[in-house]
């Protein structure tokens, strides 16, 4: 399992708690004060990044926090000042002494890094979770967790005050007061918190994770989940890919769909194998996994007669260059075939991993499911720690599939002009017989998108069934709450803008451009008029058309 946001805050609080026994040791006071100050600085950076003070930069999402959190920050600053005074009175005696506070600081820094992974270098959104983080509920969650840290720091300050000299005691008590006030005010503002933000993982990069022969099954499950996270990110980015970056072509999409079909089919076999003792689970899920596999395979089939011209291999083979052309170095090498999009490799590795989890580390998809006997059920279940984690992994894979099915139709509509087909069904009657390919018929595009929608529906049903089964098995999937929260903000089955809205937007932009042009030319006329010689009266439009 990858680390989640909530776990990092839990770790920070736990480490501060572990540091409290050291407060009674006079030798550590200096080091503890220095580390506490570091943590407060970290918290201050946190609060500034979230724009709680309302001074957001232009284009940033508006600060969603209420007034009370502004006071939280001011109390944090006050506490920092008092601690500075205390630390000046007592410089660290043991230089470089490590306390558990170092670990707390590291955990907090890691939590900030985790949040940063969801945004690109230009702060662009990389995952749908970045959208969630702009919501008030998620920011309140962060405020709540920060108050957990400030509360623990307050207790630490109290402990330190017990064994310090009087001047220091005063500063520490004041710092404690400020920290407690920050906690109270912060907590008061954190009603309607999205607690599911706590199960937020770091956004993955999109490099496929290769299979290593000696991969233990528990690790395989983690990698399968990470790959799902990668596919989710790719799905989110699919429709927003800027020009120049590799995008999913008409060659990648059917491969991706077929890999997903293969993964679902192997998952069905895996589930059948591990839940042979519980026929209820098997019956409910096996059918859904099979349906999902069928749907994805139908998506791949819908691509049979389509070729994407954006793919270099879609160019026809030309006659070879003659000797003279080559001699003059005028020959241009043919376009190189594109390497598959990372998504294809991620999905293919996912299928391979699922198969190897069931059939052993040297299994290959083309060997089928009969040549290798499956791993013994008892040892497989012992390695994966029961069926619960497997259901969790299947849920995550299915959720990624659902997002892909939702995101790809928009991508296809965008690339529809570069799709050609050799289908006999839609062939125009007047097309010369020598021409094999012709532009894809809009019905074909519609049909493909319909298949993607059907696959999305199947994945949605599968997700729900998996959740119910996991609940029934006593292993509820906490992550589902986070996914549900995203689905609310960014519904996978609805594009960001409808076609009609986009048209309206285009019209508005065109209108604005036209007005700007008018305005610019009017300004130019106004500015340049004094320099220009005055027009003779009979040449002015007004003179020519006196009636207007």
């Amino acid at each position: 399992m990858s680390v989640e946001l909530g776990q990092l805050f839990d770790a920070a609080v736990e480490h501060i708690r572990r540091a409290r026994p050291l407060a009674s040791d006079d030798g550590y006071t200096g080091a503890l004060l220095a580390s506490t100050l570091d943590i407060l600085i970290q918290l201050d950076i946190y609060s500034r990044e979230l724009n709680w003070d309302g001074a957001g930069e232009e284009g940033e999402p508006p600060a969603a926090m209420e007034e009370a959190t502004v006071h939280l920050r001011s109390h944090l600053i006050e506490a920092t000042n008092y601690l500075h005074i205390a630390s000046r009175l007592k410089p660290p005696a043991t230089a470089g002494a490590t306390t558990p506070l170092h670990d707390a600081l590291a955990a907090l820094a890691a939590s900030r890094d985790l949040l940063h992974t969801h945004r690109g270098p230009d702060r662009q959104l990389l995952t749908p979770y970045a959208l969630l983080l702009t919501q008030a509920g998620s920011q309140k969650y962060l405020a709540l967790r920060i108050t957990d840290v400030t509360w623990e720091l307050g207790r630490l300050a109290t402990d330190m005050a017990e064994r310090s000299d009087p001047a220091q005691v005063e500063a520490l008590q004041s710092a404690r007061r400020e920290l407690d006030q920050a906690t109270v005010l912060g907590r008061a503002a954190t009603r309607d918190t999205y607690h599911e933000t706590g199960s937020l993982p770091a956004a993955p990069d999109t490099r496929p994770i290769p299979f290593v022969p000696a991969e233990p099954p528990a690790k395989t499950l983690t990698h399968l989940e990470n790959a799902s996270e990668q596919l989710l990110r790719i799905a989110f980015a699919a429709a927003r890919t800027p020009t120049g970056e590799p995008r999913l072509t008409g060659f990648d999409l059917p491969q991706l769909a077929r890999s997903l079909a293969l993964t679902r089919l192997l998952s069905a076999q895996l589930l059948q194998h591990i839940s042979a003792n519980s026929p209820d689970t098997q019956l409910a899920l096996h059918a859904e996994l099979q349906t999902s596999a069928r749907r994805w395979n139908t998506v791949a089939e819908a691509w049979h007669h389509l070729v994407d011209l954006n793919d270099p291999s879609a160019r026809p083979l030309l006659p070879r260059y003659d000797y003279l052309t080559r001699q003059r170095s005028q020959a241009v090498p043919p376009p190189q075939p594109l390497t598959p999009h990372p998504a294809c490799e991620i999905a293919a590795t996912q299928a391979l991993r699922t198969g190897r989890l069931l059939y052993g580390p040297d299994w290959q998809p083309h060997a089928g499911s009969r040549t290798h006997p499956p791993r013994p059920r008892a040892s497989l279940l012992a390695d994966t720690e029961g069926a619960g984690p497997v259901l969790h992994t299947l849920y995550r894979m299915s959720m990624a599939g659902r997002h892909l099915a939702a995101a790809i139709p928009a991508l296809i509509e965008k690339a529809a002009h570069s799709l050609v087909t050799d289908s006999i069904e839609h062939r125009p009657p007047k097309l010369p017989t020598t021409m094999r390919f012709y532009p894809a018929h809009h019905r074909q595009i519609e049909q493909i998108n319909e298949e993607y929608r059907a696959a999305g529906v199947a994945e949605g049903t599968l997700c729900t069934k998996l959740l119910h089964q996991a609940q029934a098995a006593g292993r509820p999937i906490a992550r589902a709450r986070l996914d549900a929260a995203i689905t609310e903000i960014y519904p996978p089955d609805r594009p960001a803008l409808s076609a009609q809205q986009e048209k309206i937007l285009e019209r508005i932009i065109a209108d604005i451009e036209r007005r700007t042009e008018h305005f610019t030319s009017a300004v130019q006329r106004a500015v340049h008029q004094p320099q220009n010689p005055p027009h003779p009266h009979n040449h002015t439009p007004a003179a020519r058309h006196p009636g207007r």
């Binding site: 077929r258 089919l265 395979n297 007669h305 793919d311 160019r315 026809p316 290959q364 083309h366 089928g368």
Partner: protein, 135 residues
């Protein structure tokens, strides 16, 4: 079925053609046919679905590294049967061998792409020829 046999024979003949154009088109068509045939057989009784999907996937993978034909018509896919997939698998093997032979240059001039295509065609041949359960 007789038409099917003829169509496959024509493709096999074209593949033997020394001049690249026709052989390249035939290789592309055979891989396309293999994919459609495997897809049609995935849910058939007696077929290993995993293997059929793997065969279709490898056919498409191989096609990625070949240049598409400009003329001709797609070959009509036959009903999935043991005989049909058997002959298609033989053709796929043929494609792989032609790609590895010196005349493969006429089909795909780039050496790396040619090798990738040949490797995927071999995998497709293995999967397609073994996907029916023994009676």
């Amino acid at each position: 079925m007789a038409d099917m046999g003829d169509a496959l024979d024509v493709l096999a003949d074209q593949l033997r053609n020394e001049y690249g154009q026709e052989a390249a088109a035939a290789a592309w068509d055979i891989l396309n046919l293999g994919e459609r045939l495997a897809d049609a057989a995935v849910w058939q009784y007696g077929v290993d679905s995993v293997q059929a999907m793997a065969a279709a996937q490898s056919c498409r993978e191989a096609r990625r590294y070949l240049l598409s034909p400009a003329s001709g018509r797609p070959v009509q896919a036959p009903q999935p049967s043991r005989a049909a997939t058997g002959s298609c698998a033989r053709l796929l093997d043929h494609v792989a061998r032609v790609l590895q032979s010196p005349s493969g240059v006429g089909i795909q001039p780039d050496a790396t792409a040619r090798q990738s295509a040949a490797a995927h065609a071999t995998t497709a041949h293995q999967a397609l020829s073994a996907m029916w359960r023994t009676p």
